[in-house]
Symmetry: C2
Subunit: 244 residues, 2 copies
């Protein structure tokens, strides 16, 4: 199969599996968990999985592969750096809102924060993501960074970008698993171990998250699909040679 055909097949799989993740997490929260509210109740908690899957996983993944789409290669790199940064900022804002949803629910329900391994991994992911976004803005878009900085930052930015994806997948999987144990084994007539419809559905969301994560990861890892570095235009607000 030609490399460009394989790219578009992978890219279509990335877009579709991402949309399916959004659909599944929204249906789970709205149909099985009672919908949404912002009043400190369990309905406020329901924003947490939706916002984390939307921001920290799907939008993050879409933003990460934006440079790989061949039609963007004909256009100025600066334009796509701004698109990449803007999508990542939106992903970060959604993730922080997702954290606010769960912290506010915990506060109202007198549940301690940040005790489970899921919460430790999740909070680390968002902190590393914030750091990555700030350093990226400073190194690749702001004119005030020293000239050596973008070149030194680039390999770290690429590695951290993939690391955040791995952390995000681990956070989502452990979070869905934890939520199912809490709700189905709490006061449900059908415990998790009897694999009721909700458990099958949310487990399938977990599988979709893995598929999405691995497809994004595969697209990022393929050297042939990188944007060719042949342009001579300035790709920085001030001329820096390196960009992610």
């Amino acid at each position: 199969m030609r490399s460009s055909v394989l790219f578009y097949v992978s890219y279509a799989l990335c877009l579709c599996s991402g949309l399916l993740c959004l659909l599944f997490v929204s249906v789970w929260s709205s149909c099985w968990r009672g919908g949404f509210s912002w009043d400190g109740s369990a309905l406020q908690f329901n924003w947490h999985p939706v916002l984390m899957v939307s921001g920290l996983l799907v939008l993050y993944g879409y933003a990460a592969v934006v440079y790989r789409v061949p039609f963007t290669w004909q256009q100025k790199k600066l334009t796509w750096k701004l698109v990449h940064a803007a999508l990542m900022l939106l992903a970060l804002i959604l993730s922080i809102l997702g954290l606010c949803a769960v912290f506010d629910f915990h506060r109202q329900s007198h549940i301690p924060d940040l005790y489970s391994l899921h919460s430790w991994v999740g909070i680390c992911t968002v902190i590393v993501f914030s750091l990555q976004w700030t350093l990226g803005l400073w190194g690749f878009l702001f004119p005030c960074s020293p000239l050596w900085f973008p070149g030194a930052l680039k390999p770290v930015h690429i590695w951290m970008g993939k690391a955040i994806l791995i952390l995000s997948v681990a956070s989502c999987i452990s979070g869905i698993n934890e939520k199912l144990f809490f709700t189905l084994n709490g006061n449900s007539s059908e415990p998790y171990s009897s694999l009721p419809a909700e458990a099958k559905f949310a487990n399938s969301l977990g599988v979709l998250i893995l598929v999405f994560g691995l497809v994004v990861f595969g697209i990022l890892s393929k050297k042939k699909w990188k944007r060719p570095e042949i342009e001579t235009e300035s790709v920085h607000l001030l001329p820096h040679e390196n960009s992610p």
Copy 2:
């Protein structure tokens, strides 16, 4: 910092964090969870985290980076292919034993198998790992595979290798999280949310697993650290040009 110095720092971090993972999971199972047995009791379950972390994560990670160590580049590639395959086989055997431990415990305790998302991700990881090992043996070591096969398999083998690492990290994190909710919220005087010493210790094991996974992933991703493909010797039992 010179690339080779950075490699040895990363490699030392990989070895040390892997050993710390083994130490932490063994101490958790033996000191807090009562030790080991193979009699269908909860003590048999304790083999599960130890064998999965040893096999599916640490030994797998060590085997994955074995080609990156510069002193091996002076030696025949076939030797290190055999070391890689043997270490991976041992990792696979330990993982399968880890699955046997939990299935046997479930059978004796009348607990259903494979209902949680953790178990779905874990079993997928071991199945993909078995497939990867079998295909690798056939493609890169067995003389009976067609000549085109190793070249076609190589990029898939490399991508699947990293994918298994991601799946393995997600399995371990969700499994530790699940076990802590089960045991500490079951009949313990100190629930998980009060963050007793055991919770802090096992959460730290989770953090160590992430550090190990990300370091291995970083070593595998750095192009400069790949074994140079300059040798002319046969690296296959029958001459095949490609190998992982």
